[in-house]
Assembly symmetry: C2
C-alpha cells in the first residue's frame, strides 16, 4: 500500500494503512459479474451493486424476518458476504459444481482478503462471513433469504433472464429458493407467488412438461 499511503513512516498510521489496503482491494468486487441481469435486462449485475441492493432490502424488509434479528449485524453480513468472490468468482446457482472445491477456494479467499485488515477486524468480518455461510442464526437465515430473493425479483422483471437462458424448471427454482422460507414466511409466500407467475408467463418450465425420450 505504498502508493496509497505515501507518508507511512509514522507507526501510528499502520492500522489505518491496513484498513485502506482492504478498502482499495475490495474495489475489485465491482468487476465480479453475476449471472443475473439487472431488472431492465440491460446488462449483468456485479457483486458490489448486488451487495448494496440486498443490504437496503434488509433495511426495508426487516419486519418480515421470522425471528427477532439484529439488523445492523445483517447489514454488515450482507455488505461482506460476496467479498470472497474477488478471488473465487461467482458460481451460478444452478451450476453442477463440487461444493467442497468451491468452499476450499472461498476459504482461501477469505484468508487473503479479510487478512488485509488489522487482526481484530479480520476476525470480526471472517466470523460474519462464516455465519452467513453456515446459516444457523436468525440473522444469517434472513440475510440468505434476501440473497436468494433479489435475483428472483430480477428474473421476474427482466422477462425470465437466466431461467430462460438456462432452461431452468420450476422444480429447480423451488428447491433452490426454498431457503427463503427459513428467513421469512411472508417473503417465502411472496417468492412462491412470483415463481407461480413466472411459470404462467412461460419464464419457467415444469420438468413434467419436458417431452419424454
Amino acid at each position: 500500500m505504498v502508493s496509497a499511503m505515501p507518508h507511512q513512516t509514522a507507526p501510528a498510521l499502520s492500522r489505518l494503512e491496513q484498513q485502506i489496503a482492504f478498502i482499495v482491494e475490495i474495489d475489485k468486487l465491482k468487476l465480479v459479474l453475476r449471472q443475473t441481469r439487472l431488472m431492465d435486462g440491460s446488462r449483468r449485475e456485479n457483486d458490489a451493486e448486488h451487495c448494496w441492493h440486498v443490504a437496503l432490502m434488509a433495511v426495508v424488509l426487516a419486519e418480515h424476518a421470522g425471528a427477532h434479528i439484529d439488523v445492523p449485524r445483517v447489514l454488515k453480513m450482507l455488505l461482506i458476504h460476496d467479498l470472497v468472490e474477488i478471488d473465487a468468482g461467482d458460481t451460478f446457482l444452478y451450476a453442477a459444481v463440487d461444493p467442497a472445491a468451491i468452499a476450499a477456494r472461498e476459504t482461501r479467499a477469505a484468508e487473503r482478503i479479510f487478512g488485509l485488515l488489522p487482526p481484530d477486524q479480520a476476525d470480526e468480518l471472517r466470523v460474519l462471513w462464516e455465519e452467513f455461510e453456515a446459516r444457523d442464526t436468525a440473522e444469517a437465515k434472513f440475510a440468505r433469504a434476501l440473497d436468494r430473493l433479489e435475483p428472483l425479483l430480477q428474473n421476474h422483471r427482466n422477462g425470465g433472464g437466466t431461467w430462460v437462458e438456462h432452461r431452468i424448471t420450476v422444480e429447480q427454482v423451488l428447491a433452490k429458493k426454498h431457503l427463503v422460507a427459513d428467513g421469512s414466511a411472508a417473503l417465502w409466500a411472496f417468492a412462491v407467488a412470483l415463481i407461480d407467475d413466472s411459470l404462467s408467463r412461460g419464464y419457467l418450465r415444469t420438468a413434467a412438461r419436458e417431452p419424454s425420450r
Copy 2:
C-alpha cells in the same frame, strides 16, 4: 407493481407490495454513472456500487470518527444517500451548478422515491437523507467524509482520473474535500497526504503554476 406482485388482492400484502415497489425501483441506481472511474480505471463507477463501498468503509473506519457515532445509522444513511440521483442525476463535484436548482430536483426525487414505501418507512429514510444533506450530526459528518474520501482514493489509484480529465487544481480539491476534516481528523490527515502525493505525481496542478495571461 401488478407484475411484481401478481396475487395482490389480499389487503394484508399491501405493505409488502409497497416495499417491493421501492426495491424494484431502486435497481435503477445501478444505471446512474458517476464521473469517477474505478480504481483500475477500467470504467466509470455507478451510484449503487459507490453506496456499497462507502457503507463498508464505514464499518471498517468507524473508529476514526471524530465523535461517538451510531454506526448502524451511518450505514443506513450511506445506503440511501444517492437514491435521489435516480431522478436528479449525478452532479460532478467541481461542476459550476446552481445549488438551489439541484436541491429542488433532489427534493422532488426524494418525494417520489421514498414515497413508494409505506409512510412510516418513507419518513424514516427521508429524515436520514435530509440529515446526510444537512451535515449537522456526527453521523452525517462522518458519512459525508467517507463519501468524499472514496473518489479521492479512486483518483489517486487510477492515475489522476477526473482531476487530470478536468484539469482540477490542488486548491479546488482541498476546498471540496475539506469536509472530511469535520468527520475525522485522522482521515483528513490521510486525505491531505494523498492530495500531496497526487500533486507530486502530476495528477493535480496548482493554480499558481498556471501561466498568467
